[in-house]
């Protein structure tokens, strides 16, 4: 007599998540560039622009603290197991999972849970690099933790986009091209200069870009202290992006597991 029974939501979530975490560490080429590239840009940007930008602003403006959130956001944005999900679909392993009693929603939530672990693992060393190069957060250690958490929430909120593409297309090329979505988020914003220095159409674009508010909240933690208005705007930007990307991703999951 078979002992099979539905495992339950949390057991399913844990099983799918643990598999994803295990496989993430077997796939270092998938996440190491996400660590190396932002560190590289941080070093280059600070080296090239620090004196110029700090000389153009009132004394006390710390360009390294200004750039650190950009490096962390670059590190965590677009990190996901979407490529692995596409391979599961192509290899038929996704069908094998669908043949089990697993709760369908955990097939995506489990991957996202694993992403959170990876995102925090990527954001933490970049944040530590900031401390090593002399950044002293105005909000102290707690503020630095909040800084990493905020980056983690942003990274999680963004994962819905590659997952929705993976689930809708089952195509690795389409998923790889999802990074193009990141460009307007990353560059039509205050990545290099404060809002006050940006003019014309780019100034307008930055106002509508949620990354602008995210960066302001994170910079506030480093430079201004517990500036609640900026932090709240930052959390709202994360929630807005998350609402859109998660809606797309879970709609795509429904389409993928629908038996039509």
């Amino acid at each position: 007599m078979s002992a099979a029974a539905p495992a339950g939501f949390f057991d399913d979530l844990r099983s799918i998540s643990l598999r994803a975490i295990r496989l993430t560490w077997r796939d270092p080429e998938a996440f190491l560039p996400a660590l190396v590239i932002p560190v590289f840009f941080f070093v280059v940007n600070v080296g090239a622009l620090q004196k110029f930008v700090e000389g153009s602003f009132p004394a006390g403006f710390d360009y390294k603290a200004f750039q650190l959130p950009v490096a962390v956001v670059f590190a965590v944005t677009g990190v996901s197991r979407a490529n692995a999900l596409v391979l599961d679909i192509q290899d038929g392993y996704f069908d094998r999972l669908l043949l089990t009693p697993v709760r369908r929603v955990t097939l995506l939530l489990g991957l996202m849970s694993a992403d959170v672990v990876l995102i925090v693992a990527l954001a933490t060393p970049v944040a530590l690099l900031g401390v090593i190069v002399g950044i002293r957060p105005a909000t102290g250690f707690i503020g630095m933790v909040a800084f990493v958490v905020m980056a983690g929430l942003w990274g999680l909120a963004f994962t819905g986009f590659p997952y929705s593409i993976a689930l809708r297309t089952g195509n690795p090329t389409a998923v790889n091209n999802a990074f193009l979505l990141f460009f307007p988020f990353a560059f039509l914003t205050t990545a290099y200069l404060p809002q006050a220095s940006i003019t014309g159409w780019l100034a307008t674009a930055t106002k509508f870009n949620p990354t602008t508010y995210l960066l302001e909240g994170m910079r506030a933690l480093l430079q201004d202290g517990w500036a609640w208005a900026a932090i709240l705007h930052s959390l709202m930007a994360i929630a807005g992006v998350g609402a859109v990307s998660f809606s797309l991703a879970f709609a795509a999951l429904r389409g993928r597991v629908k038996r039509n």
């Binding site: 029974a5 099983s15 043949l99 038996r259 039509n260």
Partner: protein
């Protein structure tokens, strides 16, 4: 008879194409049912409906007593499935994959450990069970896929072309395991195949599907007997087959005569007695005969008999 699987006018359409066209199936508990047909006949689509991956467009199906449309959750708990392509994750080890399967079926740690140990005998890959699946050979992957379908000890096992692409020894190992599961555990097995000898060797009953419809059903012996006790095969030039069939239709004591591209198949009750008159009639008519063979019927002959085409011709 307890029914493990029952379908009624089961139909699946993809746009204008009807892949499965109103099939009725009844498979008893503990039976091995062979579902035989060429590529594209509708076998895999049927399996995907019966295993809850695909909804029927019309008709109904119950598996292990539960409706596949309404109670897919209950069906999933009671079936094991090895799909046509081994559905594995190359980055996990064999042991990790089996353990995850067990977790998703709600087995506790002790049950999982015990089942994995039991299945290691089936998988028979030694220490490689702790290596990544991406390093396995095709035969090892097939055996692991079968083991993954068995982790939760299902009542009904679906095997979709389980030996396609396997070497003869791996194929024999899968056949042995299918027989063992059926005889020792009483497992109902629904086996699709395009290999006639596989259906012949394993199945208690065979259903032949062509273009989405069941065209014949019965035990292998019954099906072969429906063609005749013996078959005389006349191989001739492609343009001569109709003429050969016409000449032979004038002889007494011959059964059905089927002409295909380059051969004519004659069903007879006593082949040894009938072959001489056939040879004489063709010789007197001036027909160039390239081969004249007497043999017992195969399921391929049954397929030819009921569809007018050989399996390979249908697939093409």
């Amino acid at each position: 008879m307890t029914s493990a699987l029952h379908t009624q006018t089961l139909t699946r359409r993809f746009g204008d194409n009807t892949a499965v066209d109103g099939i009725d199936l009844e498979v008893a508990a503990g039976e091995i049912y062979g579902f035989l047909g060429p590529n594209g006949a509708g076998k895999s689509t049927t399996v995907r409906m019966l295993t809850t991956l695909l909804l029927p467009s019309a008709g109904s199906a119950t598996v292990a007593g539960f409706d596949v449309r309404e109670r897919a959750d209950m069906v999933r708990l009671r079936i094991g499935v090895a799909l046509q392509e081994a559905a594995l994750d190359p980055k996990q080890t064999g042991r990790e994959l089996l353990d995850l399967q067990g977790r998703l079926y709600g087995l506790d740690a002790g049950q999982r450990r015990r089942r994995v140990d039991e299945l290691l005998v089936l998988v028979d890959i030694g220490d490689a069970i702790d290596h990544r699946i991406g390093t396995y050979s095709g035969g090892m992957k097939r055996r692991l896929d079968l083991a993954a379908a068995l982790v939760h000890d299902p009542e009904v096992l679906f095997l979709d072309e389980p030996t396609t692409g396997l070497d003869p020894s791996s194929r024999a190992a899968v056949w042995d395991e299918v027989r063992r599961l059926n005889t020792e555990r009483g497992m109902t097995i629904f086996l699709t195949t395009q290999y006639l000898e596989e259906a012949d060797a394993l199945a208690d009953r065979v259903g032949i599907i062509a273009r989405g419809r069941i065209v014949a059903e019965g035990t292998p012996t019954q099906l072969k007997r429906s063609v005749g006790s013996d078959l005389i095969i006349v191989r001739c030039r492609p343009g001569d087959t109709q003429e050969v069939a016409r000449i032979l239709s004038t002889l007494d004591n011959l059964g059905t005569i089927e002409a295909s591209a380059d051969e004519v198949v004659i069903a007879v009750e006593r082949g040894a007695k009938a072959i001489s008159p056939v040879a004489v009639a063709l010789s007197e008519a001036g027909i160039t005969v390239e081969g004249l063979t007497l043999r017992t019927p195969t399921l391929d002959d049954v397929f030819l008999h009921v569809t007018g085409e050989r399996m390979g011709e249908e697939a093409a």
